[in-house]
């Protein structure tokens, strides 16, 4: 649609090195930021028609990953339809990944899919790449 131009992103991810205990269940935190003035549907939106925020991670050597824990959304309603309550992420939100990892440095790759709106319009679903970095020792 935009002749190959890079689409805008309304959610950013910044890799933060973390340290966890090796060989034991630990939790790695994956932090995202929604641009000011925008919101994205939570992982559990109120309607099946809405596109939920979803993180997908690839398998990584030495890392046994558990079920991801998404944060609860916050209520939001467009000013023009206050009765229609949405469940959204705005500002910062963190997804928690339970892991059991062997000793050493690990990088788990994946992507976050989301669909953003501002207070009067919506944008197509987008995907942002993710690389979760942590050291187990």
């Amino acid at each position: 649609m935009d002749g190959g131009a890079k689409p805008r992103q309304y959610v950013t991810y910044a890799a933060e090195a973390q340290t966890v205990a090796a060989g034991r269940r630990a939790v790695v935190e994956i932090r995202f930021h929604v641009a000011d003035g925008f919101h994205v549907n939570s992982h559990t939106p109120k309607s099946e028609m809405l596109i939920r925020t979803e993180l997908t991670l690839e398998p990584a050597d030495g890392v046994k990953a558990g079920v991801m824990e998404y944060p609860p959304g916050q209520p939001y309603a467009f000013s023009f339809d206050p009765a229609d309550k949405l469940d959204v992420y705005a500002g910062d939100f963190t997804v928690k990944l339970p892991v059991v990892a062997t000793a050493g440095e690990h990088a788990v790759a994946g992507s976050l899919r989301y669909q953003a709106c501002d207070n009067a319009s919506c944008y197509p679903p987008r995907t942002v790449p993710v690389k979760v970095l942590f050291t187990a020792k």
């Binding site: 890799a15 809405l50 596109i51 501002d118 207070n119 009067a120 319009s121 197509p124």
Partner: protein, 216 residues
């Protein structure tokens, strides 16, 4: 002898401190490098919203995108799109009639507020030949889902399935913002473009202007 041992111990301790610092520095640099690799830069339009809410001095991103539409003042690009029954509908089928070509999506809540208003005005101004053509952006959800949405909204004006070609012609540079509407006068000229939801009164005002424009 004791002094020599003390010196060795101090040197070892110092060495450990230096090694630890270097090791941590390397780990931090690796993390920063990864951060750079995975960072996605916001473009100025979206970035301007940060810290200033959606009312930045230059207008919200949606206001800017609508104002910048290269189609304003130009002939509406011709298209031929399928409706939900598979029938081909062309812009030229409506030659001489004032139109709103409205791009919407099933995931777009503001769109679903606006569409019943468009339905209402389509009926109210039908005597002037006014018509609304809805173009569905997210065709990948399938006709059944689109049909379900349209019925729930009570919309009876034609709903067409978008294509990359029509998106390139109408939505180029808009970042896919929805709803996006093109007001086409009787002469086939795009007299106005809006991105995002405004008030019902504003919408009706633009419909009336479109009907009055390009009159022979």
């Amino acid at each position: 002898m004791r002094k020599a041992l003390l010196v060795v111990l101090m040197a070892t301790g110092l060495g450990l401190v230096v090694w630890s610092g270097v090791h941590n520095l390397r780990a931090r640099r690796r993390a920063m490098q990864m951060q750079e690799e995975t960072r996605v830069d916001l473009l100025p339009g979206a970035g301007d919203a940060a810290g200033s809410g959606s009312g930045a001095a230059g207008g919200t991103p949606t206001e800017k995108e609508a104002g910048d539409s290269p189609l304003k003042g130009k002939a509406a690009p011709e298209f031929s799109l399928e409706d939900l029954s598979g029938k081909k509908v062309s812009l030229s089928d409506y030659k001489g009639r004032p139109l709103v070509v409205n791009f919407w999506g099933t995931y777009c809540s503001p769109c679903k507020i606006e569409m019943p208003w468009l339905e209402e005005f389509e009926k109210k101004y039908a005597g002037s030949g006014f018509e609304v053509l809805g173009v569905t952006y997210d065709v990948e959800v399938g006709k059944d889902t689109i049909e379900k949405n349209v019925q729930r909204l009570g919309v009876t004006y034609p709903i067409l399935m978008s294509t990359p070609k029509v998106e390139d012609a109408y939505l180029h540079g808009s970042d896919g913002v929805l709803p996006m509407s093109f007001y086409v006068d009787r002469a086939g000229k795009v007299v106005d473009v809006t991105a995002g939801l405004g008030s019902k009164d504003e919408l009706e005002g633009m419909v009336k202007e479109t009907i009055g424009a390009g009159a022979k």
